[in-house]
């Protein structure tokens, strides 16, 4: 016969009390832990999560004489029907494309060159990073008013003249305006990328170069078959961050050209700014924000996909 040992009443009470104690302790610990979190969570809720939802909801609404009504896709139709919409995307893509040409390849080349030197490395590193520390407005106005002045008094035009090249209108004419902004932006921002590449280059084991050289690989082959693959992860990460950052360009246009000449430097963010703060049409501006979010989101997903495939290969 099986003996069933049932706990006595006193023991049950102790167990219950223990369980309750554990529960209370756990609850107190959780409350305390959430107390540490509450400040940040509130700030995230107010300034990131809520605006995010608000942007999506309001992009389908219209504010009419103080009354909010559901507007369906009207805001989206309005923004895509605006000829400036397509121009803004073209301008933005032009800026991104040129900024990648200069701002992506150039810092890598600069980092590779600096890394070869056994002297003056610290000096060169400080130099390329100096412009990053300027307040952006100071850097932009410095170039706009003194170096890229469209008249003959501009320093760069004087330089072109001395080299017997035709002077440029810089930001003063539509064809050269965006490239001028790219030059300013690259000058101000490339320091960060150079430093990151330098750190990545210093992690490449010297034996790889040694082995490649013994196999008869020349200078360019060593760059292509050792340097690039060894820094591939950081290269592609910075590429993606840079694309996302340059697609949001606003300050350079706003400070240097005000979107002109002939709207050649109105970017997507600038157009949203105009809709919101010039035409007081916040709903349409938010619809443009949602479109931009989708475009950049699709791009990020594509990047992650490609990156994963690249890592598996």
């Amino acid at each position: 016969m099986a003996v069933v040992i049932s706990p006595g009443r006193a023991e049950t009470r102790i167990a219950v009390r223990r369980a309750r104690g554990r529960f209370l302790r756990e609850a107190r610990r959780n409350a305390q832990a959430h107390g540490f979190l509450i400040g940040s969570v509130l700030c995230f809720a107010l300034f990131t999560w809520y605006p995010m939802i608000r942007e999506i909801v309001e992009s389908f609404q219209r504010l009419h004489y103080g009354r909010t009504t559901f507007a369906g896709l009207r805001n989206y139709r309005q923004i895509t029907a605006d000829p400036f919409f397509w121009q803004a995307w073209r301008n933005t893509l032009q800026f991104t494309g040129l900024a990648l040409l200069f701002g992506f390849a150039l810092p890598f080349a600069v980092a590779v060159v600096i890394n070869e030197f056994r002297h003056a490395q610290a000096y060169l590193r400080v130099l390329v990073y100096l412009p990053v520390m300027l307040p952006p407005v100071a850097g932009i106005l410095l170039f706009r008013n003194y170096f890229m002045d469209p008249t003959n008094a501009g320093l760069l035009n004087q330089l072109l003249h001395a080299a017997h090249l035709p002077a440029s209108q810089w930001w003063g004419a539509a064809p050269s305006a965006m490239p001028s902004l790219v030059i300013i932006s690259t000058w101000s921002n490339m320091g960060g990328a150079v430093l990151i590449y330098l750190a990545a280059l210093q992690g490449i084991p010297g034996e790889l170069y040694e082995a490649a050289e013994i196999d008869g690989a020349g200078l360019l082959k060593r760059i292509w078959h050792v340097t690039v693959p060894q820094t591939r992860t950081i290269l592609s990460l910075l590429l993606m961050l840079q694309i996302v950052a340059t697609m949001q360009m606003f300050t350079e246009s706003f400070v240097a050209t005000g979107g002109g000449p002939e709207s050649s430097t109105v970017t997507v963010v600038y157009l949203a700014y105009n809709y919101a703060f010039q035409f007081s049409n916040f709903n349409t501006a938010e619809a443009l924000g949602v479109i931009m979010f989708i475009v950049l989101g699709v791009f990020s997903v594509l990047y992650v996909r490609l990156e994963r495939r690249g890592n598996e290969a």
Binding site: A33, L46, M52, V137
Partner: protein, 296 residues
């Protein structure tokens, strides 16, 4: 060159550079690059600072004058008073300092809680925070602006008050991520020992975790101050009262009506604080930047 023997080789082997023609080529390249970089990155800054000592006619002269012929302090004095530079600098300092204090308090507390206290739903909250890193900042600016005009529930209008910079800066997922990753690397044993000695979570944070985290706190502080100092679009929208503008916005709004030599003096003064800060802390800033970015 013997001193460099400990460094591992790079693209070009050292032996090649030590020999006759390689060595000559190395020095020619080095001098050319140093000269070119000085011209490209340092000369504009020199032009800015020296331009503030020139008269306008000399500043825009063709051919250019590289050394001020009759150096005068007047443009700097005029720029200081016309731009209200003292107030702009003080404002920006207050915004950056407050943002730093709030971020160090709340981001550290949050990262500590998520890393070591691990409350219920902690991972969900962390995920929602990190997800905001995917949202490009410029996209959220308009609904954020509408939100600070009339804060939900309490109906405060934060525009033109320092809180409009301070509070949103706390919602910084990247800093929380950096801090949490650092706290994760602190061994549990140390914290358990503190708990046995009767230290509560706040005490443990203050006397054990924080002293061990000085490097990462430095990195986060530098990122925070530089971000506030360089921000343009957000303060342009939210700090519109001339007495409350930041350096960037104030200089930009006054620039159109200023004489060329006064403006360039103003730009030089606006740039000086961060340049000085950088030269003082360059080692920390550059190593912080690369370590933060590499691991992130």
């Amino acid at each position: 060159m013997a001193a460099d023997g400990t460094r591992s080789r790079t693209l070009i082997s050292r032996a090649q550079l030590a020999r006759g023609s390689g060595r000559r080529l190395y020095w020619v390249c080095l001098c050319a690059v140093v000269l070119l970089f000085t011209l490209v990155f340092l000369f504009p800054l020199y032009w800015m600072v020296s331009g503030g000592f020139k008269a306008t006619s000399e500043l825009v002269r063709n051919p250019p004058s590289f050394v001020p012929a009759h150096p005068e302090l007047a443009p700097y004095r005029t720029a200081w008073s016309e731009l209200h530079m003292g107030r702009l600098l003080l404002n920006t300092l207050i915004y950056a300092g407050g943002a730093l204090a709030l971020q160090l308090t709340f981001c550290v507390a949050a990262a500590y809680s998520l890393s070591k206290l691990r409350p219920v739903l902690g991972n969900v909250i962390l995920g929602m925070m990190l997800a905001t890193m995917m949202i490009p900042a410029a996209i959220l600016i308009i609904p954020q602006y509408l939100t600070v005009l009339d804060l939900p529930l309490v109906h405060w209008n934060l525009v033109n008050s320092p809180w409009v910079i301070w509070l949103p800066s706390v919602a910084n997922a990247f800093n929380i991520f950096l801090l949490k990753r650092f706290f994760d690397s602190i061994p549990e044993d140390i914290l358990a020992a503190a708990a046995i000695d009767g230290a509560g979570p706040l005490r443990t944070l203050r006397s054990i975790v924080l002293p061990m985290s000085r490097p990462i706190l430095g990195v986060v502080s530098i990122f925070t101050v530089i971000a506030v100092w360089k921000d343009f679009l957000w303060p342009l929208l939210t700090l519109t009262d001339p007495g409350r503008m930041t350096l960037n916005v104030g200089v930009n709004s006054a620039a159109a009506n200023m004489q060329e030599n006064v403006l360039i003096a103003g730009l030089a003064m606006a740039s000086l604080p961060t340049i000085a800060f950088f030269l003082l802390f360059q080692r920390n800033i550059m190593s912080g930047l690369t370590s933060g970015a590499m691991k992130g």
